[in-house]
Amino acid sequence: MSEVVKLRKGLNIKLKGSAEKVLEKLPTPATVALKPTDFQGLTPKLSVKADAEVKAGDALFYDKYHPEIVFTAPVGGKVVSINRGERRKILEVVIETSEKAGSVEFKKADPSTLSSEEVKEQILKSGLWSFIKKRPYGIIALPDEQPKAIYISTFDTAPLAPDFNFIVDGNMDTFQTGVNALAKLTEGKVILGVNADSTFTGVKNVEINTFEGPHPAGNVGIQIANTKPLNKGEVVWTINFQDVLFIGRLFKTGKVDFTKIFALTGSEVAAPKYYQTVLGAPVASLTEGKLIDAGYKQRIISGNVLTGTKVKKQCYIGFYDSQVTVIPEGDEYELFGWADPGFGKFSATKTFFGKLFPKKEYTLNANLHGGERAFVLSGQYEKLVPMDIMPVYLLKAILVNDIDKMEQLGIYEVVEEDLALCEYACTSKIEVQKILREGINTMIKELG
């Protein structure tokens, strides 16, 4: 049964530098890396030592508490370094890629002909399990849990987000194979969220819900909340659209193929477009020589401007990200900035004259535009979260560490990205996503 849901709450932030629909294929980068820090709450244990030769699909590290969940090399080669941070925390496992290394052989079969145990085993062994996340909490799914359903959003409404219709072009059968494999993992359904101009409406073996409205309509959490909201004790799984393609290719070819398309976007990119490279590629392989020559600092973000991670050029792109955004850092003083009439300023509020020009695309920088304060204004967050949830009260429950209240106010239904707009718009500059993650971590610790 499919539903059409119109969402009114939310906000589209129009930024300069959306990717032109042109795909450039990049050569395999010299190094790739997996970063255990990309996985919330993971305690990694290494399976390889430095200097080991690995094939694509060989395990690099695994989850200490669920050893069956392994994280595999996206490309074959030699493990050149294992970078550690404070208290020997593993930050990066870097592989020097090599053409000759080859890849691990897995079963090549149509997943609909396999049993769900066989499908699960193949996905676990190939390292693709790490792409499946669970709600509540937004962490990697546990193989022994029974999800009520598996949700996939086929469009992204975040600022400058890549267009999945463009990325999937020519790969729809791979996507279908991936979906068929996922369907084996749940007794419920695989549920797709699509938008009005979607090319995903022909996918079979799924339930399709259509969503209209501004960001965060493309967030899978918002889609769940507006169709079958998650209750205490229930578990659903979610997976990003491009990661379904990895699963599809695994079953079609019997090999892991982590080829991935990234959108390079943002006002600081000379010619924003799409690039095909591989999971774990270095940031520099995308951005080197592609940014405008500016006299000021630029901020490179793995992901979008709302939920992404600030990275340096020598870092690697995040595991779950499918875009890299570059914006000005904006670490400059602004004379009487708070009193500016604001003709060129974008705001969620109506206190700037920029609001009179709704079609303009803006260059926004990373400046906070004000100091952090206590909660003063009310009603601001509610306008941006199309869910039946009270964000401020949930955050306050987290701040006072009241587990009962967190549960009652719906912490199981949200992850950071769902409340990211609140953090953007907050007059008091409160670190919404950080607080929410602390709350979720408390829940995991207390309730498991």
Binding site: T325, D340, G370, R373, E382, M390, G410, Y424, T427
Partner: protein, 393 residues
């Protein structure tokens, strides 16, 4: 402006914790961020942030208050010259100038005392100076009768900032609207000086008033059973009253600014006015009752909407009830909160002989109950979630 920026940047290390002038830290930060929006960039979470901050929010409220304040100044002069019978012979600017000179000292005292205390608290607590008092500092003078002695303004401001706000933790933490705390403090501490007929019109001891002059507000007259004001005067504000509260027209201009920018909650404004109107209608319906005194029968029968333009009702509804910190914070709660303020304000105003004005008390009372209203609204959300869980289980 570069040298100012350089000056602040150069002196920044000197006011850090442990440095020589660390006791100036908050003041330094306060002035620096007043002149220049800080260069701080996002460290966690979203990389972009809205241009709005608390300084801009508060400035917009102050901007919305300006029409009422300017008119208030004019009205101070207007009432003065009317009382001494020289209205016809004094020009517009003369009238305004008189009011300006009377009002400026009150504003100055309020800001100097209030900000002084804020600076000290910010430094003691080791945080920056918060902007809440920008609005309170202008609201306090606007709800004072013009003849309030300056020392009382200073005392009330100090009381409001310390016991009305800082003891709770500062901006964003207070339970009651600080400006109303100041007003209530004076009302109860110095009742003789804060009510009656002599405080509403600025007159020096040498001024000779015309025959038949009474400084009473139309509301006080109405309570005594005399409805002797013109509706136009009451709407545009040519009546005695606290400095900023008399002109419903000027206040509505401010309301427009608050609603268009979204800074003030239209839900609270509308529901407060609705509550007042409903209570006015109830009084109208009861006005024929034999049990009422003659004066009360007249007051009860006053057209219900006149309540909205007399006294501090409009000012309270637009600028006081909407204070986001002390008001109800849930969207549904705002309707209940505002409506009850309207009901209570008129109820206290008309029925209780001890208090000629009910708005201040109604808002303070509902400030107290706002968390309770919110509690039940939040409980409603929780209940819905729990019910949903049971159905699916």
């Amino acid at each position: 402006m570069k040298f100012i920026k350089n000056f602040f940047e150069r002196t920044e290390p000197l006011v850090q914790k442990g440095a020589k002038y660390s006791w100036l830290g908050s003041v330094h930060e306060g002035f620096f961020t007043f002149l220049f929006v800080s260069k701080d960039t996002s460290k966690s979470g979203t990389h972009i942030h809205d241009f709005i901050d608390l300084k801009r929010t508060m400035s917009i409220v102050v901007l919305a208050l300006v029409p009422a304040l300017l008119f208030g100044m004019y009205n101070v002069g207007f009432q003065h010259y009317k009382a001494i019978g020289e209205l016809a012979s004094t020009g517009f600017f003369g009238i305004f100038l008189y009011g300006l000179l009377k009002v400026i000292p009150v504003i100055a005292v309020s800001y100097i005392v209030g900000l002084g205390i804020e600076f000290v608290f910010a430094q003691l607590r080791g945080h920056g100076i918060h902007e809440g008092f920008l609005v309170s500092g202008i609201l306090i003078p606007m709800i004072m009768p013009i003849e309030t002695p300056l020392w009382m303004v200073a005392l009330a401001t100090a009381f409001a900032v310390i016991l009305g706000k800082e003891v709770f933790g500062g901006t964003g933490m207070n339970i009651w609207n600080p400006a109303l705390v100041a007003r209530a403090f004076l009302f109860f501490a110095y009742p003789a000086q804060m009510s009656g007929e002599s405080v509403w019109v600025a007159l020096s001891s040498t001024d000779k008033v015309i025959d038949g002059f009474s400084g009473a507000t139309p509301m006080a007259n109405a309570a005594a059973g005399h409805l002797n004001y013109s509706v136009a005067d009451a709407f545009f504000g040519f009546i005695p009253g606290s400095i900023g509260e008399t002109s419903a027209f000027a206040i509505l201009i401010g309301a427009l600014i608050l609603i268009v920018t979204g800074i003030g909650s239209w839900k609270i404004m509308v529901s407060t006015l609705a509550g007042g109107a409903v209570m006015g209608l109830i009084l109208n319906a009861a006005s024929g009752s034999e049990a009422l005194s003659a004066a009360n029968q007249v007051y009860f029968s006053m057209p219900f909407w006149h309540h909205l333009i007399l006294g501090g009702f409009m000012f309270g509804a637009i600028f006081m009830a909407t204070d986001p910190v002390s008001a109800s914070q849930t969207e549904k709660g705002k309707y209940i909160y505002g409506f009850l303020i309207g009901i209570l304000a008129i109820l206290i105003r008309v029925i209780n002989p001890a208090f000629p004005e009910g708005m201040m008390l109604a808002i303070l009372l509902m400030n107290t109950f706002a968390p309770l209203i919110d509690h039940y609204v939040v409980a409603g959300n929780i209940k819905k979630r729990m019910k949903r869980a049971k159905i699916s289980a």
